[in-house]
């Protein structure tokens, strides 16, 4: 992506021409070492970040072992620490959110590039990006006071009628719950998916579009058969970045998911995610519970870091392909 841009002092300047640098005295060496030093310092902070969370959780891992991951009951008051319901709620709400956000996000990205006239394109792009600017607590508030009544009165009864009240739309209809959390998350990750997949698709060579059209393809054939497959890895990257955001979203989920750490029975179940549980229990936890919450933090960190590494790989591979 950045092949055309150059480091403004090339590496050659730094190491291969000793006269150039050293002759001018200590100041430049001081400069280089300042840069290095600050980078080292920041790396140390990052390491400390990872270390302190892992360290805090250590007693929980040694004491509980694998049941931390596989236990089906999370009840710190009774010193029972099974994070499985939290992990499941986190993953399920993210997956369902993707189910909404991916088709809409991809569709939006394609409209922005291939359908709208240029002027509208800039406006629509800016509006979609505004979605990302709204703080998550505001989405939470909206979810709590506007969507909860709507879900319980309209959406969820309708969903339940689709399956005759069977899984996955079964159980008590409270409005709040995993389903609503997924809806709110979908709105929140939509701008990420739109922006990245739009950039990835726009970076594809124009030749592909024209090549397909010149064979007599219709617009939808071009998009479905040529553009989307060619941008596949970048789009998967965009989806993963969206997933990463959804996995770690805290306050909006906390406000709409119901706050009950139990094994999810259906999409209507109230639940609690890793992040929302940390947020609600952390400041009032006993040292023992703090270690268990630290373990949740470690699980969440591993999940999001993994998803993000994957996402960066996919996006970078895609931009490498198009240039």
């Amino acid at each position: 992506m950045n092949q055309s841009t150059q480091r403004f002092f090339s590496r050659r300047n730094a190491s291969d021409s000793p006269q150039g640098l050293r002759a001018r005295g200590g100041s430049d060496r001081f400069y280089v070492w300042t840069l290095r030093g600050v980078a080292m310092l920041f790396s140390a902070i990052l390491l400390e970040f990872v270390y302190s969370i892992v360290h805090q959780s250590w007693p929980a891992w040694t004491h509980e072992g694998i049941t931390l991951l596989t236990g089906t009951t999370w009840n710190p008051a009774a010193s029972v620490y099974g994070a499985l319901p939290l992990i499941l709620d986190t993953v399920i709400s993210t997956l369902v959110a993707l189910l909404f956000a991916v088709p809409i996000g991809l569709g939006t990205a394609l409209v922005l590039i291939f359908v709208l006239p240029r002027r509208l394109q800039a406006i629509a792009s800016a509006l979609v990006e505004l979605l990302a600017a709204i703080p998550s607590v505001v989405y939470g508030l909206w979810g709590l006071y506007v969507l909860v009544p709507w879900m319980s009165a309209t959406v969820q009864p309708w969903l339940a009628s689709l399956t005759g009240g069977r899984w996955p739309f079964s159980g008590d209809n409270l409005g709040a719950g995993i389903m609503l959390a997924s809806v709110v998350l979908a709105v929140m990750i939509l701008p990420t998916i739109v922006a990245i997949s739009r950039d990835v698709i726009a970076a594809l060579p124009k030749d592909l579009n024209e090549g397909a059209l010149s064979l007599g393809a219709s617009k939808s054939q071009v998009l479905r058969k040529v553009i989307l497959p060619s941008a596949k890895s970048g789009i998967l990257g965009a989806i993963s970045l969206g997933a990463g955001r959804a996995l770690g979203e805290t306050i909006a989920v906390l406000m709409v998911i119901g706050g009950n750490a139990q094994m999810p029975r259906s999409l209507f179940s109230v639940g609690a995610t890793l992040a929302s549980t940390i947020a609600t229990e952390y400041t009032e936890a006993s040292p023992q519970n703090l270690a268990a919450l630290g373990a949740l933090a470690v699980i969440l960190m591993a999940l999001t870091a993994g998803v993000n590494v994957l996402a960066r790989r996919l996006v970078n591979r895609s931009s490498g392909l198009s240039s």
Binding site: G211, L213, L215
Partner: protein
């Protein structure tokens, strides 16, 4: 056949003594982008089973004309094409002609090879047919083989049809793109500087190919390369940029005449490399 003389009027560019029904006729064609005129008043005829080349310096509107022939400007916001563009006597910009159908009759090969990177060689070749609704395997296979043979690619790829197209060399990729266009069996093939990104050996092979393809399709080719135009084309259109930067047709005629006995002094200067 009959509308030739009158419509030509006083335009010096048009082939006057044509005894062949032209497949493609351009009459006072103008192309503008957001109001800025890029090509002005261009008229000439494309004869069947011949190669017509468009030459001229950069900015003289060669590619713009070529892209108006299969309505690729429809994609460009603000682009406008005026005048008559007749394919077998039917105006391709007036109602009744579907762009998709038009483009299956008039194929195109681009400057840079643009095979679909995610598809195999076979899928690339038959992609146009599939776009056009052809499902029958025997027809697809038959067309693919014929197109690859015509593009002189069959011998080297027939054993690895399932391999990704991106594994081919640049020259092979361009021939794959030619095969891909040919598989739809177009009547006309537009080529936009098809060899400009290729090495001399690949270029020569494609030029040979073009001559062989004449019995299969009519070709219109844009080229920067004088020798190429002289070597492969039968008719030649020479364009220049006017003072307001709009491209104009200076002269049109048999390639021999354009290169050896042009009527316009500017043509003589250009083909002898004195400007542009």
């Amino acid at each position: 056949m009959s509308d030739g003389h009158d419509a030509v009027g006083n335009n010096p560019g048009v082939l006057k003594e044509s005894s062949i029904t032209p497949v493609l006729q351009l009459r006072r064609v103008n192309v503008s982008f957001s109001g800025r005129v890029a090509v002005r008043d261009v008229s000439f005829d494309v004869a069947p089973n011949k190669i017509t080349s468009l030459i001229g310096p950069s900015g003289s509107g060669k590619t713009t004309i070529l892209r108006s022939l299969n309505r690729l400007h429809d994609l460009t916001k603000g682009a406008k094409v005026d005048g008559d563009l007749l394919l077998d006597g039917v105006d391709i910009y007036k109602g009744g002609i579907a762009t998709m159908l038009l483009r299956s009759r008039i194929g195109m090969v681009f400057q840079r090879p643009n095979p679909f990177p995610t598809l195999s060689i076979y899928d690339n070749v038959v992609s146009g047919l599939r776009f056009n609704g052809v499902r029958k395997k025997s027809l697809l296979d038959e067309a693919a083989e014929s197109a690859l043979i015509s593009a002189a690619l069959w011998d080297s790829v027939s054993s690895r049809m399932k391999v990704h197209a991106s594994t081919l060399s640049g020259g092979e990729q361009q021939r794959l793109c030619i095969a891909r266009a040919l598989a739809v069996e177009p009547e006309i093939l537009l080529m936009d500087e098809p060899t400009s990104s290729l090495d001399p050996v690949s270029t020569q092979r494609i030029e040979e190919l073009m001559t062989e393809l004449k019995n299969r399709v009519t070709m219109v080719i844009v080229t920067h390369n004088m020798q190429q135009a002289a070597r492969v084309s039968d008719d030649c259109a020479f364009l220049l940029m006017a003072d307001d930067r709009a491209g104009e047709l200076i002269e049109f005629g048999p390639t021999d005449k354009i290169f050896h006995d042009p009527s316009d002094a500017r043509t003589l200067d250009y083909v002898h490399g004195r400007f542009g």
